[in-house]
Symmetry: C2
Subunit: 86 residues, 2 copies
């Protein structure tokens, strides 16, 4: 997601459109990116650290964006799912 101090024209456009579309009471909208990575093998601390580094280096532009890494178990598959939002 864009850092709070960075202007987000896409999010603002959505927010301004909402009352017109019948949706009141939404005080802020921010738009960002989301990556789902599927990993081979277990999502242990080492794998997670690597994904964090990857997110920081290549997926997010940390000058203007924050990111969080979240693990999601992927039921029905061997590979676990990992979600990075930038």
């Amino acid at each position: 997601m864009l850092k709070p101090e960075i202007l987000d024209p896409q999010g603002q456009a959505v927010q301004r459109a909402l009352p017109r579309l019948g949706y009141q009471g939404i005080t802020d909208v921010r738009q960002g990116k989301r990556f789902e990575l599927e990993l081979e093998g277990p999502v242990d601390d080492a794998a997670l650290a690597r994904v964090r580094q990857l997110a920081e280096t290549f997926l997010a532009n940390t000058v203007i964006e924050d990111f969080t890494v979240r693990v999601e178990e992927n039921a029905g598959e061997n590979a676990e799912n990992e979600v990075v939002t930038a």
Copy 2:
């Protein structure tokens, strides 16, 4: 996120670049959008249903995209935070 059966060229481009950048063992990358909505008042079932409808109608293109709605408490502010990912 794009539905699993929909081709995701952005995610594929990221995935193909990773080994070159020194990241092995990532079997799939999908890229999608993420919206953070801030709501006035409590995030009760009614508010959540409204946000789901909003996501389905305006934020996501449900022909090609799935979405999930997740509630995030926003510590330090009165308004609770709501995350929609498309």
